[in-house]
């Protein structure tokens, strides 16, 4: 048929574009540029966290907001705050039982192993968040570890009789709270010096982050790390709950 022309056109153009990407990638010649500044000025031992929260803290703020937004829109897809929920009523309205929520989880062996594993993971996550400025890790990594432990529990037990159970409202509060801490800590920077997200080391003669002697003064970075950690763990957990349960949708469309 005449579709053969389209086949040829689309494959040719795809080949050209792919060739363009490969050609560019092959010729990359890295210039050091601004990286030299980042590696040569010492703020905290973990240089990646320094870039993330000090040099380019505003990007991290934007990225937190993307996660908030994503949770918001995912909730909206499942019927929260729509102007008109006719489509969802049509799809989910007339079913007797919720088949996703009925899934019982895996075998007893996995169930026995899952709970200790997820508790260990949670503790590890807390540790990674709190030590983010001196050791490898940080808010994202720790937050996603905690969320992963929650997901592990949900997958092995099913959403209904999962022993680790975060309340939906609680997670929501945690998330808003984390993002607000980030934004307001940034505002204190304006109050002190006129620069948003300034890394304040001491306020009224006191260290902002009290740390034992011998360790450096990290300023507000640990607090930012904690805020991001809270937000990531709450965001990812909420998304998982939303994606794995139909109860939320039925509740949303009923009112």
């Amino acid at each position: 048929m005449s579709y053969i022309n389209r086949e040829i056109a689309v494959s040719l153009s795809f080949m050209f574009f792919g060739a363009a990407i490969l050609y560019s990638v092959y010729n990359i010649n890295v210039v050091e540029g601004v990286n030299a500044i980042y590696t040569h000025s010492y703020i905290i031992p973990n240089f990646v966290t320094a870039v993330l929260f000090d040099w380019r803290g505003f990007d991290t703020l934007g990225e937190c907001l993307i996660l908030i937004n994503s949770v918001l829109v995912t909730g909206m897809v499942f019927g929260r705050g729509l102007f008109n929920s006719e489509f969802l009523k049509e799809v989910y309205g007339n079913q007797k039982k919720l088949n996703i929520d009925e899934i019982e989880g895996f075998t007893p062996i996995i169930k026995v192993l899952a709970i200790p594993m997820s508790i260990i993971l949670m503790i590890l996550g807390v540790y990674v968040i709190l030590g983010g400025h001196i050791t490898p890790g940080g808010g994202f990594q720790g937050g996603s570890l905690i969320a992963a432990s929650y997901i592990l529990a949900i997958v092995s037990f099913g959403i209904r009789n999962c022993p680790i159970n975060f309340n939906h409202k609680f997670l929501e509060t945690l998330e808003s709270f984390g993002a607000l801490i980030f934004l307001i800590l940034g505002l204190t920077g304006i109050a002190v010096s006129g620069y948003y997200l300034l890394n304040i080391h001491s306020l009224f003669g006191m260290n902002v982050f009290p740390s034992p002697t011998g360790l450096e003064n990290a300023g507000i970075i640990p607090y930012l790390n904690t805020a991001v950690g809270l937000k990531v763990l709450a965001g990812l957990s909420t998304i998982t709950t939303l994606l794995s349960s139909e109860r939320v949708i039925v509740k949303n469309i009923s009112d």
Binding site: M1, Y3, R6, E7, V10, F14, F17, G18, I21, L22, S24, V25, Y26, I28, V30, E32, V34, N35, Y38, T39, H40, Y42, P45, N46, F47, V48, A50, V51, L52, R56, D59, T60, G62, E63, I66, L67, N69, S70, V71, V73, T74, V77, F78, L88, E90, V91, Y92, T135, P136, G138, F140, G214, V232, G235, L236, I239, L242, L243
Partner: protein, 150 residues
Amino acid sequence: MILYYDINYDIILILYPIIEIAIILLILVMNMDLQLASFITAGILAIVGLYGVFFVDNVLKKIIALSALGNGVNLTLIAIGYKAGGIVPIKMPSMEFTMFATKAVYPLPQALVLTNIVIEASMLAIMLALSIVFYKKYKTLKASIILKED
């Protein structure tokens, strides 16, 4: 209405591991530059992702392909930070600072990747949610049925 996606294009996705094995062989046998190898891998990963988005007629596979594309981009970014014989950019108390500063890999790309991972995850979550709703409605994941002209 449009037929030209009915051919089973998934077969080409099998080529990807073969290319990767070829690159690993090149590194081992011909002493290929590690940074160049990772750039090429990243490029190929991105192209495979794009390929999946354009030609595979399944919503879930499209989403997986999008995540492959994002990972290709992330790999490109990470490889920009590469330094031959570099060390992790975390300064231990015992290290001398000038030695550390010259040897540490670039921290900027790593920070960018961390940011991008969360962005990708958030986009993915929304798309998965949408595909759940549409699967419930149409009982299929074919893009040409779910997202046909209306």
